[in-house]
């Protein structure tokens, strides 16, 4: 690999890191801004999800992987969401 490509690769990974730090600041500061609790929490978790996707796609290279890797990685969160939704009515009606 030539020097230019090497520098571009390092630069790309630095850019991802910079975005992660910017998003961390946004996600943290929003909690203390004069916005509704619901909006603040929505932004906080949306920002966290974007950060997670950035790491998984770029640092874990999932964006270059075969579909089977998406299925392996995607099934467990889906099962967790199903469990959450299945138990939620019980919690909601009991309290």
């Amino acid at each position: 690999m030539n020097t230019e490509a090497t520098q571009d690769t390092a630069k790309f990974y630095f850019q991802i890191w910079e975005w992660l730090i910017i998003l961390l600041v946004v996600g943290t500061v929003i909690v203390f801004m004069p916005v509704s609790r619901g909006l603040a929490l929505t932004i906080v978790f949306a920002v966290a999800a974007i950060k997670g996707v950035l790491v998984v796609r770029n640092y874990m290279h999932l964006k270059h992987e075969h579909l089977i890797f998406y299925l392996i990685a995607g099934l467990p969160p889906l099962l967790v969401i199903i469990m959450l939704l299945a138990l939620l009515p019980d919690i909601a009606f009991r309290h």
Binding site: M1, A5, T6, D8, T9, A10, K11, F12, Y13, F14, I16, W17, L20, I21, L24, G27, T28, V31, F32, R37, A40, L41, V44, F45, V47, A48, K51, G52, V55, V56, N58, Y59, M60, H61, H64, E65, H66, I68, F69, I72, A73, L75, P76, P77, L79, V80, M83, L84, L87, L88, I91, A92, R94, H95
Partner: protein, 205 residues
Amino acid sequence: MEADIAIHANAPAIETDSLVSLPASRVALWIFLAGEIMIFGGLVACFMLYRIAAGGWTDEASHVDWQVGTINTVVLLTSSLTMILALAAVRRNDQQAVKRFLAVTVALGIAFLGVKAFEYHGHIVEGFTPSKGMFWSFYYTMTGLHALHVTGGIVVNSILLIMAIKGTLWARGETRLEIAGLYWHFVDVVWILLFPLLYLSLEAK
């Protein structure tokens, strides 16, 4: 983005399963990570359900220091950067850079645990032990399990660093660093989700 694609195109082939032509080591690691997602996902789901049922935990959570959590997040995000730079270095056969980036990754991992130990000490001195309440039980379980994973990653990365120093890493260096890196980035992603859940979500008024 082109640079990232280029590094993949130039990467030497690693061992593959002849049946499906997929890299067996990466498939195995992703299946392992799927199990890990179930463990942490189950914990997070239980946390959310118990929180809805309990109607808050704001008082308990007010004793958690979001500033310390933010510092630890920066430390772990930076360690992910140095880990991926170590992989990029091994692909261009820059052995000095591999050693340097691995050493920094290990150091940042230890720094993360040090900050976590400082936090635990503060909480325990104040009387906030795991048996103090449901929030603290979840807090210690989730952060403790995560810290255990960080410890595992530090051990693996330290072994790779020692191998690099001894000169025994390079035969299958790329595969080893890639697999160790996947695990380390996963640990980072778990913290990215735990941080807002434990430190920020209960802070919002």
